[in-house]
């Protein structure tokens, strides 16, 4: 399979990545090279083979399902690029209603 410039533009939207016009061939070339390299996986008959998942060798680490308060709440808030008092400030995700 090969990817067109239009398809790449759609991937950019999905990944929230903006490319400059001069960067487009620098992504498209390696992307199509990679797909050509990976097309060879189709040669393998994997009918009946389950997709891989990790079998933990012995037993996974577990911890009790208990509340574990962190002491540094204020520092977490400080980490946020934009804050408002006790909250992370994030952009509005829905348009404001005209009736409101």
């Amino acid at each position: 399979m090969t990817v067109s410039e239009e398809q790449l533009a759609a991937f950019c939207v999905n990944a929230q990545i903006a490319l400059k016009p001069e960067e487009v061939p620098l992504v498209l070339g390696p992307l199509n090279d990679l797909l050509a390299l990976c097309d060879k996986l189709q040669e393998l008959d994997c009918r009946g083979v389950e997709p891989f998942y990790w079998r933990m060798g012995r037993k996974p680490s577990r911890r009790p399902d208990e509340e574990e308060p962190w002491a540094d709440r204020d520092r977490f808030i400080e980490e946020a690029p934009t804050q408002d008092g006790d909250f992370f400030r994030v952009p509005r995700i829905m348009a404001e209603s005209k009736e409101a």
Binding site: M1, V3, Q7, L8, A10, F11, C12, N14, A15, Q16, I17, A18, L19, E23, L26, V27, P30, L31, D33, L34, L35, L37, C38, K40, L41, Q42, L44, C46, V49, E50, P51, F52, W54, M56, G57, R58, K59, P60, S61, R62, R63, W70, D72, R75, F76, E79, A80, P81, T82, F88, V90, P91, R92, I93
Partner: protein
């Protein structure tokens, strides 16, 4: 005393015996970094004041009579790859996205190392978000190879490997998703170990691909690798992928002095003409050392892995990385660039925060996860990975360890990544299979008259202790690994 040439074991023993102080050791290594790092750029954040304070603390604990068992790394200076979260010390992943990010907690392995008495001198340079094999894509600029400053140190843990080779510390830590410990160890002429998947906690590591990443040590001798693994490998309730079983003492591997009854495989069935002859020569030497120690040495093949491993790896790694890096959205931590709308803000933040190689890999990963591509590529790669896992499971029922190259070539010149990315991707063919199958693997320095030459020794899953015993016997019969001279020689 020549502290910078000492091993970690010698330093810890000397500090605990009060032959010298942790402070003297720290100061000697700090002086070495101050003298040479303007040349090679391996240490991107220095924590010298904090290190001096910690060293004084170790000396006080030793003076108060703390026993050996509590401080196996007493006074041992270390560098940490800059994707290990360190409380109050910035953690950048070599990216503008996290340029000023200061974590509020330590990664579990950092806590283990410091509790064992290690002194963190600083954070080591790396390819941005561990995406690369040359340590050229960091915002701090490239790290140079201390054995030959015209060449790359390998990556992505290039600063950690270069630091050990340069004598900044006897032990450092890195992470390995597809060879990011083993390749830089080979290029810089030190030892590097990727433990079995599940052996070491990844809690607090800014990961690249969860199902492939593993944390491991660099050192200049196998004894120090074992010591480091004894501290690193332990259950962690904060990482459910970290096995809860009681580990063996990995240092006990050093007591093994023969291979009678053991079978060692040499990888065959690949195009040997594509591999530097100096590497093939050292693999033959290691095989002879194993024979002399009583092992039966046999040629083995993993045809499916060699044919399909790289393609399988890139699909899975890039797909997972594109999902993982979605968390860098400019809202919770790291860089934030204002935008007109939510999506404008995302886009501007990610455009300014990520370097070009990271953006390229995210887009490649987004492609293989997109409807129409997913079944053909990602789903098929997951099935192929299962077959690769089984191929190694069957192989390690027949042999105890496998000898093979780390990379087809020795350290390459700076700038080659720009001119030939495809060649660099294919250079991963010998390292990525061990991540796909979760196998422990050591990149072992075998000397080299010019550039360093390493070989790779691979063990069965959870065979880390046995793997260390093989590396130890091979190491004993080869040239010792020294620090770079910085005076024109290697």
């Amino acid at each position: 005393m020549d502290f910078v040439r000492m091993t970690a074991c010698e330093i810890a023993a000397g500090v605990k015996a009060k032959d010298f102080s942790a402070l003297e050791v720290a100061n000697a290594h700090i002086a070495r970094i101050e003298k040479y790092d303007s040349r090679i750029n391996a240490c991107v954040t220095r924590c010298f004041e904090r290190a001096v304070e910690k060293a004084r603390g170790i000396d006080s604990r030793v003076a108060a009579g703390e026993t050996d068992g509590n401080l196996p790394l007493a006074g041992v200076p270390v560098l940490l790859k800059d994707n290990f979260c360190t409380r109050d010390v910035r953690t950048t992943c070599g990216s503008r996205m996290l340029e000023n990010w200061v974590p509020t907690y330590d990664a579990s392995v950092v806590e283990s190392f410091e509790n064992a008495g290690a002194i963190v001198l600083g954070k080591a340079n790396m390819d941005e978000f561990a995406m690369g094999s040359t340590t050229e894509s960091s915002i701090f600029g490239p790290t140079l190879n201390p054995r030959d400053e015209s060449r790359v140190p390998g990556g992505s843990s290039g600063g950690s490997a270069a630091g050990v080779a340069a004598g900044y510390c006897p032990v450092s830590l890195g992470s390995d998703t597809g060879g990011s410990i083993r390749l830089p160890a080979a290029f810089c002429g030190v030892h590097g170990m990727k433990p079995s998947y599940g052996e070491v906690s990844r809690y607090g590591i800014v990961g690249y691909v969860s199902s492939l990443d593993q944390v491991g040590p660099f050192a200049r001798n196998v004894k120090d690798l074992s010591l480091a693994l004894d501290v690193l490998a332990r259950p962690d309730p904060h990482d459910s992928t970290c096995d809860a079983y009681v580990r063996p003492r990995f240092s006990d591997a050093l007591a093994v002095d023969n291979f009678k009854g053991r079978k060692i495989g040499i990888l065959s069935g690949y195009d040997e003409s594509s591999v530097d002859p100096r590497i093939l020569e050292k693999i033959k030497l290691a095989a002879q050392i194993c024979r002399d120690a009583g092992a039966e040495v046999v040629d083995v093949e993993v045809p499916l892995t060699m044919d399909y491993g790289v393609a399988c790896y890139y699909i899975l790694a890039l797909g997972d990385a594109s999902s993982k890096l979605a968390c860098f959205d400019g809202m919770r931590y790291g860089l934030h660039v204002e935008g007109q709308t939510l999506f404008d803000m995302y886009s501007k933040t990610r455009d300014r925060g990520f370097g070009f190689e990271v953006k390229r890999r995210i887009l490649l990963g987004t492609c293989v996860l997109t409807s129409g591509f997913y079944d053909r590529y990602y789903r098929q790669a997951e099935r192929v990975r299962n077959r690769i896992y089984v191929e190694f499971e069957e192989l390690f029922r027949k042999i105890d360890a496998l000898l093979m190259p780390v990379s087809p070539s020795l350290a390459y010149p700076i700038g080659m990544v720009e001119s030939d990315p495809q060649r660099i991707y294919l250079g991963d063919a010998f390292t990525v299979p061990m991540n796909l199958a979760g196998l422990p693997s050591i990149s072992l320095n075998m000397g080299g008259n010019g550039l360093p030459v390493n070989i790779q020794i691979v063990g069965g899953r959870y065979g880390d202790q046995r793997l260390l015993s093989v590396a130890n016997i091979v190491e004993r019969a080869t040239e010792p690994c020294t620090i770079a001279s910085f005076e024109g020689g290697r």
